[in-house]
Each structure stands twice: as structure tokens, then as C-alpha cells.
Amino acid sequence: MTGSESMTGLSGCLLLAAINFHTLLFYLFATLACGFAVGVVLADNVVRMALYLVLSLGATAGLFFLAGAEFVGAMQLMIYVGGTLVLLVFGVMLTAQAPFVSLQTSSGDRALAGIVAASLLALLLQAAVSVEVWRRPGLGEVAPPAATPIGTALVGLRVDEPPPASPSGVRSGYLLPFEIVSVHLLVVLVGAAYLARAKRRKTPRAIEVAASAGSVELAVEPRRRTGGATSALTAGGAR
């Protein structure tokens, strides 16, 4: 091994140690999250949109881990990526359009949306960088794991900081919001099951009529297939 090679290897090791890996990983996850979010907007196929949304939400979970919010990141992965996205994909499959109909947006709408997006983004970015104290680099203070303080705060006990010296001396936790959210979740899930239940009808549904009416009518009038749902219903009833 020559001297120059060993010098190169040594300085390479020094440079490798000098890279701020937290910042590097932040840029990686931020690029992934933003890129796949834009991909959700630009994709026309709904299955592809769901995939991009999964990846964007997963990269955001990585950002949460980097910010020191490991419990929130884990919940993001479990609830969003594991729960909501399964729900969404089932929705995609249950409402599959006949042979891959993709609902296109008109180009005029796309241009208008681009203008609105650029204005909104300029406003938000200006607001994000306008406050000087938010631009100071983080001190890198490492906090203890947040799962225990969050768990105790949810049942009403704050252990993350000492109680204030105010006359009341009370720091309330999150017991009441926790209860409200849990009852809300219960009611919402019961309501969703009620809304999505299989209904028995006297008259056939429009989708069944459209299926039984044969492909000739669909091929002739693909756009007005459901617009004339009532006439199709009466035709199906007469048949």
C-alpha cells in the first residue's frame, strides 16, 4: 500500500466521521416524504396513489423518529400505514371501476391548481422561515423516551415536568380529551359499520341493474350509465 492511498483512506475515515448523519437522514426522509406526496397529486391511477401515500406516510414516520418523537412515529406506522391504508386499499378494491377507468382532471383545472398551489406554498414557506428563532439549529438535547410521560399524561398524571409554582399548582393531564376521543372513536366505528352495511332492497341497486343490463348499453352510453340510473331502474323493474 502506497503512502498516498493510506492518506486517502485516513482522510476518508475522518470525513466520514464528520458527516452529520442526523441531517443527512433528515434530508433523505424529507425528500422521500415530499416527493411521494407530490406523486400522490400527479398520479392518476388510484392504486398507485395509495402506494405513494403509504411511502410518504412511512417517510414521515422516519422524520418523527429523527425529531425524537419515537412513540408518535411508531403510532404513525401502526395506525396510518397499518390501519388507514389497509382501509383505503379495501376501499379502492371495493369500488373498482370497470376496466380501469381513470378519472382525468381537465388541463384547465390542473393549471389553476398549479397556480393556487404555488401561491399557497410561497405563503407557507415565507411564514416558515420568517421567524428567526425557528431557524436556529437545534441544540441536539436528547430527551428520555417519551412513551411513559405520554402514557401517564393520557390518564391525567404529568410526570414530564415539575408542577408550576402558581397558586393552583395543578397541571392537568389529558384524561378528559382521551375519554372524548375514545368514545368518539367507538361512535364513529359503529356509525361506519351502519353506513357500510349490506342493505336489502326491494328494488335492485343501480350497480346491479347496470351489470344485468348487459354490456351493449354500457358500450353505447358509458358516460350516461349512471346518469340514467332511474330509467335503468324502471327498465330493470319491468324486466
Binding site: A113, W134, E141, I207
Partner: protein, 131 residues
């Protein structure tokens, strides 16, 4: 010799990385990410004609708001002399995740019901209540 050349290229790339990642991440970096996610979600909600696409836009908006909450709550990102939300921000982010899951369940049920009645998920066709 070529090996040394590759090493030099690697060294240059690595020093570029060192220079680019020299400063730590600040709260403003996270706010920029949140702003981009929020804007993508708003555009998704406004542009998509598929009801499920509108739902995904709502998820993106809520996620962008969550990024901001977590950034302001993070002890790691707190700059010199800056205030921090502490654990409150993380708890609020958890509530937002839960409410987003509940909202997705109801919205999907409504979408399924709409599909059963109209045989489409095009939101432009949902004009039965137009006066």
C-alpha cells in the same frame, strides 16, 4: 491509479456531504416539509375527481399538520432560547392520528354507500342535492 482516482472522487463527495450537513436541522426545516405536504394535500383534495383521491388529500393535510406539531414539540430540534411545546405537541399529534383514522373510516363508508347507489366514485356526479 484509477483506484486512487475513485477514492478522490469519493473524498470530494464526502466533503460535499460534510459541508451540506454541517449545520444541524432546525424547526424551520420541518416546517418546510410540513408546508409541502400540506400544499400537496390541498391540491389533491381540490383536483382529484375520485372520492378516494380526495380522502388521500385529507390524510396528507393532517400529516403535514402533524409534522409541525412534532417539530415544535421536539427537544432535539429546539434552538438556543426557543420555546418548546414539550410533550403536549406529541399528545396532540397522537390525537390527530386517531381522529384521522376515525375520519377515514366514516368517509370510506360514505364512499361505499355512494358507490352502491351511483355505481361510480366520481365526486362530480354527487349532485343529487343540488338545488
Amino acid at each position: 491509479m484509477s483506484c486512487v482516482g475513485v477514492n478522490n472522487v469519493g473524498l470530494i463527495a464526502m466533503s460535499g456531504l460534510v459541508a451540506a450537513t454541517g449545520d444541524g436541522v432546525s424547526v424551520a426545516h420541518y416546517l418546510v416539509v410540513g408546508a409541502i405536504l400540506f400544499t400537496a394535500g390541498i391540491v389533491c383534495m381540490a383536483v382529484k375527481r375520485n372520492a378516494l383521491g380526495v380522502l388521500m388529500g385529507i390524510e396528507l393535510v393532517l400529516n403535514g399538520a402533524n409534522v409541525n406539531f412534532v417539530a415544535f414539540a421536539s427537544p432535539y430540534l429546539r434552538g438556543q432560547g426557543a420555546a418548546s411545546l414539550g410533550i403536549d405537541g406529541q399528545v396532540i399529534a397522537l390525537f390527530v392520528i386517531l381522529l384521522a383514522a376515525a375520519e377515514a373510516a366514516v368517509a370510506l363508508a360514505i364512499t361505499l354507500s355512494f358507490y352502491n347507489n351511483h355505481a361510480t366514485v366520481d365526486v362530480d356526479r354527487a349532485d343529487d342535492l343540488k338545488g
